[in-house]
Symmetry: C2
């Protein structure tokens, strides 16, 4: 079987692949896993031996089919546990990442299936990220960034691109909750900040930095 650490590398390779095209570099992995490039190289050799990644020295890596299957399994478990922590245990959406990071490594298909049923087969986690299916499909979403929406459009907040505690707590303070409907007011041409109006009619000022990290439909 593969270790806790190997699972984290697979998950990280998948995550980096999503936000760029081409292969994933050693340095990018070192940064995200908070290790040194030399350590990453060692692990890549190991994952390549197990045929979980395609790896050519100096050329970066890409998951094999089996590697991607495993990565999606881990992400599925992570997101299901996040739903559990928020919906059932009442944690804030900004407080669940680290705990889910541990829970995701419990490799029991029956546990995952029962948890899924207990949560009524959720399709999205508390941050709006889609939950991969049992068969390893990542549901497609067609969300736009709030920063790409035009003045006057009415949209609904569906997810976040940034998952840091600081960002999520900022959204809480602004009353920007997933699922809430907002209408775009004028976009400030100087700093591209924007005023949005929530269902309750309350105006909320949103910086471009925040708008770039909010997904809407």
């Amino acid at each position: 079987m593969h270790s806790f650490t190997e699972e984290n590398y697979l998950k990280t390779i998948y995550a980096i692949s999503l936000r760029q095209d081409g292969d994933v570099s050693t340095n990018a992995l070192a940064e995200v896993t908070a290790t040194k490039a030399a350590s990453v190289t060692d692990m890549l050799r190991k994952l390549a031996d197990k045929e979980l990644i395609h790896y050519k020295k100096y050329q970066g890596v890409r998951l094999t089919e089996e590697g991607e299957r495993l990565a999606l399994q881990i992400i599925r478990r992570h997101r299901l546990w996040e739903v559990f922590l928020v919906d059932k245990l009442g944690f804030g959406w900004d407080a669940v990442h680290d705990i889910a990071e541990e829970l995701e490594h419990i490799r029991s298909d029956e546990l995952t299936a029962r948890l899924d049923a207990f949560l009524h087969y959720p399709q999205f986690d508390p941050h709006g990220d889609p939950i991969p299916t049992q068969t390893g499909q990542m549901p497609e979403t067609e969300y736009r960034k709030l920063s790409d929406v035009n003045e006057g459009e009415a949209v609904r907040l569906m997810g976040v691109l940034e998952h840091s505690t600081a960002f999520l707590q900022h959204l809480d303070r602004c009353q920007l909750t997933l699922g809430c409907a907002v209408t775009l007011g004028e976009i400030n041409p100087f700093d591209r900040s924007v005023r949005v109006v929530s269902e309750t009619g309350q105006p909320i000022f949103v910086s471009h930095e925040v708008a770039r990290n909010l997904l809407v439909e």
Copy 2:
């Protein structure tokens, strides 16, 4: 902080201490942890350095106050997760031990407290074992073994001493469920097997081996 492995040793030392008096031997630990005596010795030196156990070479070990506090914390988490797995996810009581063995190592006091509340502060796990309190007290129970009960007495099944899957499944097949009331019929003088009669009037034959591992009140 202490490792996953150190936690398992503490838990094991506590468990062995309960079922014998005097200090716990290296060999006993090696057997339960499925390692070799030499490996146990190494770990004991380490736990002694951290002042989690009292250890004198060749003399066996005993938990310090801090060691016992940690052991009870781990056992508390283990048993709370077992309640979750059985009561909320619908696992059989014979199928939860291994999964709880992994969940117990997630060291978040907030997670444990919220799980406890979500489960409505259970006092016993699915096998009738008491759940240590948040402050590290192991609730006392005054159960007798079914093998010590006299003919004609009416008792209620409250727990098990043996936790193997095989034993628990045997009880399921006999319809011997925790909480069920039974009256003792005659004890066979030859093999000390006993006939018990359940609430429904159904007679159940119980070997001495089984009776020795059933706790009643």
